[in-house]
Symmetry: C2
Amino acid sequence: MNTETVRVAVDMAVFTVRDNRLWILMIRRGRRPYEGMLALPGGFLEPGEDLDQAAYRELTEETGVLPSHMHLEQFRSYGSPGRDPRGRVVAVAYFALIPSPPKTEAGGDAAEVEWTPVDDLLRADADIAFDHRRILADAAEQVRAKLEYTTVATRFCGETFTISQLRQVYEAVWDRSLDPANFYRKVTKIAGFVVPTGQTTSIGGGRPAGLYRAGDAQTLEPPMYRPR
Amino acid sequence: MNTETVRVAVDMAVFTVRDNRLWILMIRRGRRPYEGMLALPGGFLEPGEDLDQAAYRELTEETGVLPSHMHLEQFRSYGSPGRDPRGRVVAVAYFALIPSPPKTEAGGDAAEVEWTPVDDLLRADADIAFDHRRILADAAEQVRAKLEYTTVATRFCGETFTISQLRQVYEAVWDRSLDPANFYRKVTKIAGFVVPTGQTTSIGGGRPAGLYRAGDAQTLEPPMYRPR
């Protein structure tokens, strides 16, 4: 049997919402290969580590982001021959959702840590290392689809949030405008999506808005579809 | 950097529907480790191969199943230390859906190829090699959930099928009885799920039933939920 020796890496697409856009955490590589280019944070599996452990470790090492309150999910592995000039590397890719960009600190292979709007990276001729352009495009589509079928949008919000803030998350991730009244009606009808806290807030001196927290449901029944 | 050398395997959960139940293709191992125990078909990645290529190759080698008309989808990677006594192995797991059990032929690591009802494997104290009990449980749940949100149920049917045959697929995979009239109404209302061929069939001499083929849609809008 002709068995090949491979190294296994974990790569992380860490997303947040800011200024009505979806942002992703990239590092600027401080080492060869692809020195100076943007890449997803990640690195090789270490002895005795499970894949999820490696993902949490690399995220902390390279970015300083702490795993608490983060939604981390494995979504696909990539193994084309030639995807890494250093030899055969299979990448197990994860995406993570975090409420707001925390203070980050570069370490490991990362010279700099940068939050960048996803659309800018996918549209422009940005220099992206390895096959990370494809991985980040797949990850972004995963997140857009997850917002249709699951309750993960609340992971982009703080502990409590208004329905209007939740709508802004949907608008940013999908890059679509949504009708506020229609959004409010749908969201509050889905069992276990959001739960009223009984408190209100009045941002900007407007009419007081109800504050909600995430409910227990994992899936949205019915789903919330992206406008076509 | 303490980088570990790993071997990468692909493991396949191949499902079909027969006798109103969901069946999975297992091999009985002809070699150590776990000689004589049931395992998912699979094997190590070879030089120059992509992950998907390895999955198709192993499936053909170990089972004789041809990849045409098969729905093959990567769903998760497994990398716990100690999951393989031969050393560090990361498994990239796939599931495949096929219309009816074709003639299979054991080869490679497989002494015998066996179609087995999924529930029997998960319920009984079946001797299952490696962490394949968990992988097959995850794969079966993936398939059950895919039937809620996507059109893949048609992959279990032949080229043409009656709505009643499609319902029997849902009943087998979900292990639930479904109301025929309600199922018919839902299925025929979802755009692009099934398309009438204009032909009819009369199985068992009953009233002629319309024959359908799979439509172009990938997702079910709205979804078809499992009865709770």
